[in-house]
């Protein structure tokens, strides 16, 4: 008889479906890790060159002073040493006609100085007659309808065409981008005495739109520096604009100084006069009519001269490159011991990899902390200041000397003009320059910070902001939350598990275990809500009572236990089951109430009357609290040493006495030990505090409402049921014959539990703790809601934290896809994944060993 075809078919189909489906699901699950890794990898890949080209510069002419390119890398505009502007189409090198302007140069009036802002838009010319002219270069694009494009265009590339003055780029079927150059020049301003050439200048625009002010700094050939401010007022009635100029001299410049450069910061509150040898004269110009020489410092060693110097965006970081190829980044830092006039010192924060030859040009990014340095050998290095890395080294064939260097506004291109009139262009991609393993996991010196630090601060409103992507504070936050919650959860969960498994009647156990497991079904968003909105205010009000409860409840339980021992044996036997358990509840309730009642006294004795103020360090002394902290350890030491030294003898004595007497004796010893421990720990506290150890500033400090204490408690609800269930199961699977044998030998159930059951189940208990830890590490909603989310690095239990998981939940919805922040958050997720996977696998392996061991018994 043959099997029906349909059966065979069904079997085959099922076979394949199950195999493919099963393997697919497994692959999908492992694919998570792969995908996270794939998203994270670009953070570490640096930068790449997508295309490079060399074309001839059409104009020839004099040495260019600057070069700018537009956002779309369509047009390059340069201004040369005689003040003439040249523009050309970058892709083909086609020269474009420029709007005419007249600098008014003559035999007696030569161009002697030039300045520009970072984006290249605002420029200034200084002349030999002591005048300055401000101006602007606008290279910009606007999108127009294709229908409006003029007809007689000369085609340059597939997309680009020109009418000789502007470039028309086809964007889509009906849209065209028109990129053109506009140059405007203002009136000459006499800033230096007539006939004294201006050798260096810088300026910033400020003021309101209707009353613009221009702040200028200039140094003339006589070595005199000046700050000047022009203010334009428009008369409302006549519409006429009047411009007034006020100047004041910069004091303290040595005569005959050879000024290489002057720089002014954005708010015109700082002026840097840079001497060719690297000496910087820093002026505080907040009082514009009375500038103060704040600091004189030499940034370069010996006979090294300044190769190039430039501010990065935000004008806090100053890049100084020397003729020896060295590149350093300086910040102005407020340092208490600074001897400068304004309390700030120019500090070298980053020392970057040096070039092989002297640096000749720098250009900085307009949207981040990247910049380009070009050296005398013709190498152009793309660097990032924060991460100190060299992202790219661009090397043209042969030795090239550059005359101008431009970084594309979107950080996606580099243009350099050589002295043999060649234009070198590179299309580059450097999407994540700020991240390296060093910046993510190491200390980084950020702008304005007194020292390198671990900081997470991912976003801000402006481009000038330096994003701070250190995962360390977040990992620290996760560890802190985990540690404190485990400190709370492990004793309760393990104690409860041992008691449930070994000391209660199975009928009680059948009620108690599901009740505890009910805790696991509480959604964590509920826990977070209760913790943050209900618990946090309660804890704040009753802080002293809660701290006291940690002491009073265990003490109360011990006290009740010793009193219980005084009960006559028949009574103790009769009420040993459920009534005793109920009595434990009563004890806890009573002693909690006592803690509440005693909390004002406790607060005044231990914390100078106000716990929060005490934690701040404003009132009280720290000896009592230190004593309280060391008390449990001292007590345990005394307890175990007494057991080791006199335990046997004492045990024999107890056995000899009758029950009540023995109970009293035991009680008395306990009391004696408590008193002894109290005395010793207070003495120790005196010594510690004398040595300068203070828990304040460490594990206790300023109180914040949403703090780790609250998080630890709420997280307990999430962690306790897990540790409880797994360890209870582990205790329960210890073979019954071991238990029976131990009891049959005359051991008490306590002795059995401690010496037989727990050692056997230890690996299971350990794995329970590991799994609980995994849960605490990844818990999100509780920490989002109750932890305050401040990325701090302190162990203070009264302050909040920002965990990896909470950080993801808070920031990922706002993160732009594929941005650095987005990838950093994926890295945070990957970190969580790896941590929990390792912890859980470890726990699982330990548990399997445990199963094998118990199975062999």
């Amino acid at each position: 008889m043959k099997t029906a075809r349909s059966v065979i078919l069904a079997d085959k189909v099922a076979d394949w479906t199950i195999r493919i489906g099963g393997l697919g699901v497994i692959a999908a699950v492992f694919g998570i890790m792969l995908f996270l890794t794939l998203v994270v990898v670009p953070l570490f890949t640096g930068a790449s060159v997508e295309r490079s080209a060399v074309t001839a510069e059409p104009s020839g002419g004099a040495r260019p002073l600057m070069d700018v390119i537009d956002e779309y890398k369509t047009i390059s505009v340069s201004i040369d040493a005689v003040g003439a502007a040249h523009a050309f189409h970058i892709a083909t090198g086609t020269a474009l006609e420029m709007p005419a302007y007249d600098l008014g140069l003559s035999d007696g009036k030569a161009l002697t100085a030039f300045a520009r802002t970072l984006n290249g838009r605002d420029i200034a010319f200084g002349f030999s007659d002591g005048t300055l002219r401000l101006g602007s270069v606008k290279v910009g694009g606007s999108v127009i309808n294709t229908a409006d494009v003029p007809g007689d265009l000369r085609r340059l590339t597939d997309a680009d065409a020109t009418d000789g003055r502007a470039i028309f780029t086809t964007v889509s079927a009906d849209q065209t981008r028109r990129v053109s150059v506009d140059i405007e020049l203002g009136e000459p301003q006499q800033v230096a005495p007539a006939g004294t050439a201006i050798v260096a200048a810088d300026y910033r625009m400020g003021g309101a739109a209707e009353r613009p002010t221009v702040s200028l700094v200039s140094v003339d050939a006589a070595g005199v520096g000046r700050v000047s401010r022009t203010e334009s007022k428009t008369n409302m009635l006549t519409g006429a604009t009047t411009t007034s100029l006020t100047s004041s001299e910069l004091p303290g410049l040595p005569t005959g100084v050879v000024v290489r450069n002057v720089l002014m910061t954005d708010k015109a509150d700082q002026v840097y006069v840079v001497e060719a040898g690297g000496t910087v004269y820093r002026y505080d110009t907040r009082a514009f009519d009375a500038p103060v020489l704040a600091e004189t410092t030499d940034l370069l060693p010996g006979d090294v001269t300044v190769g190039a110097i430039k501010f990065l965006i935000g004008e806090q970081s100053l890049v100084v490159a020397g003729s020896d190829g060295s590149v350093g980044v300086y910040f102005r830092l407020q340092i208490p011991e600074a001897k400068t006039a304004d309390g700030y010192i120019l500090t070298r924060a980053h020392t970057l990899a040096p070039h092989g030859a002297g640096v000749v040009a720098i250009d900085a990014s307009q949207r981040g902390k990247m910049f380009l340095t070009a050296d005398a050998n013709g190498e152009i290095w793309l660097r990032h200041s924060t991460s100190e890395q060299v992202l790219l080294k661009l090397k043209p064939d042969g030795k090239v000397t550059y005359r101008a260097l431009a970084f594309a506004p979107r950080e996606n291109g580099v243009l350099a003009i050589s002295d043999d009139n060649k234009v070198y262009t590179w299309d580059i991609a450097a999407p994540h320059p700020e991240t390296t393993l060093g910046t993510i996991f190491g200390k980084v010196w950020y702008e304005g910070y007194p020292a390198p630090e671990y900081t997470w601060q991912s976003s801000s409103g402006t481009d000038a902001f330096e994003p701070k992507f250190s995962l360390v504070p977040l990992i620290f936050g996760t560890i802190k939350a985990t540690l404190y919650s485990l400190l709370f959860a492990i004793p309760i969960a393990l104690g409860a598990a041992i008691y449930t498994s070994e000391f209660v009647h199975p009928r009680v156990r059948a009620v108690v275990k599901p009740t505890m497991e009910l805790m696991a079904s509480l959604p964590s968003v509920v826990l977070g809500f209760i913790a943050a909105l209900i618990l946090a205010p309660i804890v704040e009000t009753w802080l002293a009572a809660i701290v006291l409860a940690f002491v009073v409840i265990p003490t109360g339980l011990f006290l009740s236990a010793y009193l219980w021992q005084l009960l006559p044996a028949p009574l103790a036997l009769r009420f040993g089951g459920v009534p005793k358990f109920v009595l434990i509840f009563v004890t806890i309730t009573v002693f909690t109430y006592l803690a509440v009642l005693a909390s004002p006294v406790f607060e005044s004795v231990f914390f100078g009357g106000d716990l929060k103020a005490w934690a701040n360090g404003t009132v009280g002394t720290s000896e009592p609290f230190t004593a309280l902290m060391s008390f449990p350890f001292i007590f345990l030491v005394i307890f175990f040493s007494s057991k080791a030294f006199v335990g046997r003898t004492f045990g024999h004595l107890l056995r000899g006495a009758d029950r009540t007497k023995a109970g009293l004796a035991d009680f008395a010893t306990w009391l004696a030990m408590v008193v002894l421990a109290g005395v010793i720990s207070y003495a120790l506290a005196l010594v510690f505090v004398g040595l300068g150890v203070d828990p304040r500033g460490g594990i206790v400090d300023t109180y914040v409402q949403r703090n780790t204490l609250v998080v630890g408690f709420a997280m307990g609800f999430a962690v306790i049921p897990i540790i409880y269930t797994i360890s209870e199961d582990a205790l329960n699977t210890v073979p019954e014959h071991l238990r029976a044998a131990s009891l049959a030998c005359g051991a008490t159930s306590w002795q059995t539990a401690v010496s037989v059951i727990m050692p056997t189940a230890m690996s299971g208990i350990f794995s329970a703790i590991m799994v609980g830890m995994g849960r605490a590490v990844g818990e999100t909603m509780i920490v989002v809601m109750a932890a305050g989310n401040t990325p701090l690095m302190e162990w203070n239990i009264f302050n909040g934290l920002r965990a990896l998981s909470a950080n993801i939940a808070v920031e990922l919805p706002e993160a732009v896809r594929d941005s650095t922040l987005y990838r950093m958050l994926f890295l945070a997720a990957l970190t969580l994944f790896v941590i929990t996977f390792i912890v859980n696998t470890f726990a699982e392996v330990v548990r399997q060993r445990f199963r094998k061991r118990t199975a062999q018994m």
Binding site: S521, V525, V526, Q565, F717, E779, T836, N840
Partner: protein, 576 residues
């Protein structure tokens, strides 16, 4: 555990009173009490937590009396006593009090009671709550004519009814049970329903059709270009359609205006306790009851009607009032969709691991890993869901099937489908582990018997193994549901929103909108508790939502536990 089990706690309690006594210390009594204390603390924690949540949640909707408090300073406050606490007044404050109060405060250790009144009338006073210290109370009354008015906007109003206008005519106000009043209110509510129907339903439909036609045009444009004949056709279609639809729209808008005008002719003038008057339309009146003049059944009626609104209504006032129906619906839809995905895949994987794969090191490694994936934080799955499902998969779907809607994403952002898939991935280990256990519990002999009878492998699985394992599988699926319904963190990344205007399932083709964002009970708690105008005003709502969510998760969990015990019993009977 066998039945001949000796209660362990009792095993060593039979103390040998004659002859040698045991060492008291070997009994470890203090240690036992500590362990018991740990268990007791755990139980107190869970029971206390549940008591806190349930007592607050259940009590929220009980109508409370309205107190009118006249302070010694002359200020009059009317409101529900919300909660009381003792506080420490400043020294300066105490100094201004009469001597008897100073003495009382001094004897109470500087503490005195104060009560928080929920005043309502946010539009009049600009605050919802007010603390009144005991010493400031000159008179506290519960006047019978005070009414509690729940409004569509501005939260509740507490005061008295001043006047009544029905159809533009002033009417005398007799009582809230007055049939004239009730009828007017009912009519106003019906009108409000009509307006909503028109605005949401019919005008929404017009917008929807117009949008569809516009998208169709864009699609033609993308496919054939602007100059093609097809494009011109589509453009004409759009133009004619928009003309007709505009006409329809105008008609509907006129209808709405008429209804609105009718609504505006039916108003109720209320007076706050300070005399400030407020005229509101009947249509803006959700519920009105005389708080101090309400019998037991009246209270029950208000209580039940509030629950009804909560379960069936839509949220108002930035989610702090009204109902959570969309959230319940969203939670249920997402969980069911998740089960549709997780059940077959979980079972197939378990079948593969248990019945098909060659048992060896690799499979045991896979098994450990699958087990561990249950411990990977849920937020990680959320990150993956956003990055892979929404951005990569959804982005590709958009580019392939919905190019006309770009750049606004259709599937390329969070939504119901991606949430369900993310949670499916999160919960699939639960189903795999449960199913594997159930499969392992099916005796080998049964499989062998089936195969020996000539059944194919699939027939054996289908007719012998799976039916036996079914309860176990169900338990796993239900546990997965419970886990899925309670998760919030990953959903915050992949599609849950605070307010979704449209349900993911509705009457517009294709009826189930997998790409839509949705509301979720858990996220509702987070949102109302943390992002609302006044956390205090939102708290009662959060408690009720919490009760609902816990009840939901617990019921689902309990179902799993019951099923598991049944399963065990069934197996006990079938083993031979």
């Amino acid at each position: 555990m066998t039945d001949s089990y000796i209660p362990r706690g009792q095993a060593a309690s039979a103390e040998n009173t004659a002859g040698r006594r045991t060492d008291l210390r070997s009994r470890g009594e203090p240690a036992l009490w500590s362990l018991g204390g740990a268990l007791a603390l755990g139980i107190i924690m869970i029971l206390g937590f549940l008591a806190l949540v349930f007592s607050n949640g259940i009590a929220t909707f009980i109508p409370k009396p309205i107190a009118v408090v006249t302070e010694t300073g002359g200020q009059v406050t009317a409101g529900e006593p919300f909660r009381s606490e003792s506080f420490r007044p400043t020294v300066e404050e105490v100094a201004t009090l009469p001597p008897d109060w100073q003495a009382r405060i001094k004897s109470a250790g500087g503490m005195v009671n104060r009560t928080l009144y929920r005043m309502g009338n946010f539009d009049v006073y600009g605050e919802d709550f007010r603390w009144v210290a005991d010493y400031a109370v000159a008179k506290r009354e519960f006047p019978a004519n005070m009414v509690f008015v729940e409004r569509m906007e501005w939260g509740p109003f507490i005061g008295t009814v001043k006047a009544l206008t029905i159809d533009g005519n002033a009417q005398p106000f007799k009582s809230i049970e007055d049939p004239v009043f009730l009828q007017a209110h009912q009519q106003a509510l019906d009108r409000a329903d009509d307006i909503r129907d028109i605005e949401r339903g019919r005008i929404g439909d017009i917008n929807h059709r117009l949008e569809n036609e516009r998208l169709a045009l864009r699609k033609v444009e993308l496919a054939e270009g602007r100059t093609s004949a097809a494009y011109r056709d589509a453009q004409d279609r759009l133009n004619t359609l928009s003309v007709t639809l505009q006409r329809d729209y105008d008609a509907l808008a006129a209808e709405v205006t008429k209804l609105r005008e009718a609504s505006a002719r039916n108003t109720l003038t209320l007076a706050a306790v300070g005399g400030e008057e407020k005229t509101i339309e009947f249509a803006a009146l959700v519920r009105i009851y005389p708080a101090n003049d309400l019998g037991f059944w009246g209270k029950v009626g208000v209580y039940l009607s509030r629950w009804g609104e909560f379960l069936g209504g839509e949220p108002r006032e930035a989610n702090t009032e009204g109902g959570v129906f969309p959230a319940i619906f969203g939670t249920a839809a997402m969980t069911l969709l998740m089960v549709l995905v997780v059940a077959p895949f979980g079972v197939i994987t378990a079948l593969y691991l248990r019945e098909y794969a060659k048992q060896g090191r690799l499979v045991s490694f896979v098994r450990i890993s699958v087990n561990n994936l249950a411990g990977v934080p849920s937020i990680v799955y959320g990150v993956f869901g956003l990055g892979f499902f929404a951005y990569v998969l959804g982005g590709s779907i958009d580019a392939l099937f919905y190019p006309e809607r770009l750049p606004s994403p259709t599937f390329g952002t969070g939504g119901l489908l991606w949430s369900a898939l993310t949670l499916a991935l999160l919960t699939v280990p639960v189903v795999i582990v449960a199913t594997e256990e159930a499969l392992a519990a099916v005796p080998r002999s049964m499989r062998e018997g089936s195969l020996a009878c000539g059944a194919s492998k699939w027939q054996t699985i289908k007719y012998i193994v799976l039916p036996r394992a079914m309860p176990g599988v169900m338990t796993g699926v239900i546990l997965a549901m419970a886990r899925g319904a309670g998760e919030v963190a990953p959903l915050m990344l992949v599609g849950v929103v605070k307010l979704a205007p449209e349900l993911p399932i509705d009457g517009i083709f294709p009826f189930v909108h997998l790409e839509r964002s949705f509301m979720h009970l858990g996220f509702h708690i987070f949102d109302v508790g943390f992002q609302s105008r006044n956390a205090e005003a939102g708290k009662p709502m959060v408690f009720v939502t919490t009760v609902l969510l816990i009840a939901l998760v617990t019921i689902v969990n309990a179902a799993a536990i019951i099923l598991r015990s049944r399963l065990k019993r069934r197996f006990a009977g079938s083993q031979f």
